[in-house]
Amino acid sequence: MGLLDISNVTKSYGAVEVLHSVDISVDEGEFLVLVGPSGCGKSTLLSMIAGLEGITSGEISIKGRTMNGVHPSKRNIAMVFQSYALYPNMTVGQNITFGLEMHGTPKPEREDAMNRVAEMLQIDNLLSRKPGQLSGGQRQRVAMGRALVRDPDVFLFDEPLSNLDAKLRVDMRTEIKKLHQSLGTTIVYVTHDQIEAMTLSTRIAVMNKGYVQQLGTPKEIYDTPSNVFVATFMGSPAMNVFPSRIVVKDGAPHAAVTGHDGVEQLLRFPQPNLAAWDGREILLGIRPETITDPEGADRNADHIASLRNHIGVTEPAGSDTFVTMTLGGRDAIARMRADVTVRAGEVFDFAVNMDKAVAFDPKTEERIQP
């Protein structure tokens, strides 16, 4: 039983069910990120936690108190909106204290709280300005100030960084993380940006089509994605997923991978359970950064397999060099060191870290448990 419990919650609009029996429990001090493509139901779920949308069935409770039918203002939550939703007719100070005023907090206390928050967010020099006079980053801070001042049980963030430019987004991301670490607040954060999800969260719920696809720590999500959707959604560039076949040779399972020339090469696959799949098709998932040149391979890895393949295109990106190739008939990307000497068109011996490879059932697209 956590601070925020979402148990068996569904949401329907008429006959259309858009959220299917969601179960998530958030502990105090956790940073849960709901991530998924647009239309996956993540914002709907957040609105249901906030009380802005009704719950069709199931229960949402905060601190053990059921929230079904409780008015948003009585849930002791605060929300930061994508558009910031600052009241344009009020000054920054009035924006921050509006919630306290509505809850009948006396004026001196409101001023104290406002000054405390403004100082923390470094917006104390902006208090008498109107939102229209602020830059995007400043508005973002004010929106957070408005949430912080209430000292709520749960903070809800609805894609708060998506209106900022790229550089500011990275800065604010760090700032939100700092804020979470210093205050130890409980946060539920919605985003479609998987990098935000990875960097900020203590746990991630990957959602698609109204289902929670996987709930776990960033590392679990990244290393052991539960299905093809999660594998390809999380990570940039996306995980290479292509058809392969399991061949048991010398008593150990191998993945048979076809390169550019259509010849199968056997890569030792250190997952004994896969022996049961001998001779059957699978979908093989390999992260771009686990395909490298032999010198760049992870020294701590137990199973580095060699793969000879034709180099399609090289894309030097400064910090890394991306190399495209064909694997199992599909395009695949390798992420190599920046100073690696590879040329487009040549045949190269790649090193593949098979410790990190994952196998999916081609019918269900679920991960085959090792």
């Binding site: 929300m79 558009s83 939703a85 009241y87 809850h103 229209g132 006079q133």
Partner: protein, 294 residues
């Protein structure tokens, strides 16, 4: 060819076109101002100068007697009261009718966009339909209704009629304005703990300046200029300005006092003019406020 020559040509053509544009505008302004000028000139002439001379000529003798007469002593109806009591009637009808229909329109627009409910678009469509119903169709049913609720021939009765007729338009204005209003603001205010009315007057109303001005101009002009409802539903004591002006001008006894009629007509048009001039300014200011960036 150098750039300097190019600019010189551009400026010269610009100047020529500009002269033409201003001449054109001036011509049309004169054309439209002509009737008003005739009215003004003849309202400060003694009647003998009008009947015996040129309508366009400036007066030989300047007099404000026609204005005084039109305002306070012209024979309208039974008593020689001038237009004053009817002017007051008009104010008594217009101000509450404009205020009530604007407030209700704003509330309707707020509910129809931010507190959506099943069938709200149908309801809005029906409200909108009232904008297209010709006045004449409702005269008899309206008279019946006013009679049944005991408001026939009274100022409150006319207020009711104008509010009912204005609601379609005011709702349309506010609904369209508020539909572009970010719903996230309302949600944020809900989380902050503001209720239905608090959100309305703390968040929406302060940001509704331009549309309030538009609605007031529209409603004020329409209700002030209304003649049909005024002549159909008003009693002797509640006739509005327009009806009184008609009675003044149409009275068939004696000599037609054109100078008094002109003065009366200007008096009748004055409030709408003032509303346009005063609130038009605010209207522009309201629009500018949002567009200024920091």
């Amino acid at each position: 060819m150098s750039g300097a020559v190019d600019t010189g040509v551009a400026i010269r053509t610009n100047r020529v076109t500009r002269t033409f544009i201003y001449l054109f505008l001036l011509l049309f302004a004169l054309f439209y101002l002509l009737p008003l000028a005739v009215m003004l000139i003849n309202s400060v002439k003694p009647l003998s100068e009008i009947t015996g001379g040129n309508m366009m000529a400036l007066p030989d003798v300047w007099t404000f007697e026609p204005w005084r007469e039109a305002w306070s002593s012209a024979q309208i109806g039974v008593q020689p009261t001038g237009l004053r009591p009817y002017f007051i009637n008009s104010i008594l009808i217009v101000v509450p009718a404009v205020a009530i229909s604007t407030i209700m329109g704003a509330l309707n627009g707020y509910v129809l966009t931010k507190w959506r409910f099943r069938g709200d678009t149908i309801l809005f469509g029906m409200l909108l339909f009232s904008c297209f119903i010709p006045f004449q169709i409702v005269l008899i049913p309206m008279a019946r209704v006013l009679g049944m609720i005991g408001l026939a021939g009274s100022v409150p009765g006319l207020i009711l009629v104008h509010v009912v007729y204005g609601l379609g338009f005011t709702t349309l204005y506010f609904r369209n304005y508020y539909s572009a209003f970010p719903t996230e603001l309302v949600r944020a205010a809900q989380i902050d703990g503001a209720g239905f009315f608090r959100i309305f007057y703390r968040i929406l109303l302060p940001l509704s300046g331009p549309i309030i001005v538009v609605t007031i101009i529209w409603q004020f002009t329409n209700i002030w200029n209304d003649f049909l409802f005024g002549s159909s539903f008003a009693g002797q004591a509640s006739q509005p300005m327009t009806v009184a002006l008609n009675n003044l001008v149409q009275s068939s006894t004696g000599v037609k006092a054109y100078n008094v009629h002109f003065a009366g007509a200007i008096l009748a048009a004055l409030p709408t003019l003032i509303v346009y001039i005063v609130s038009g300014r605010f209207f522009v200011r309201g629009l500018m406020a949002g567009s200024v960036k920091g």
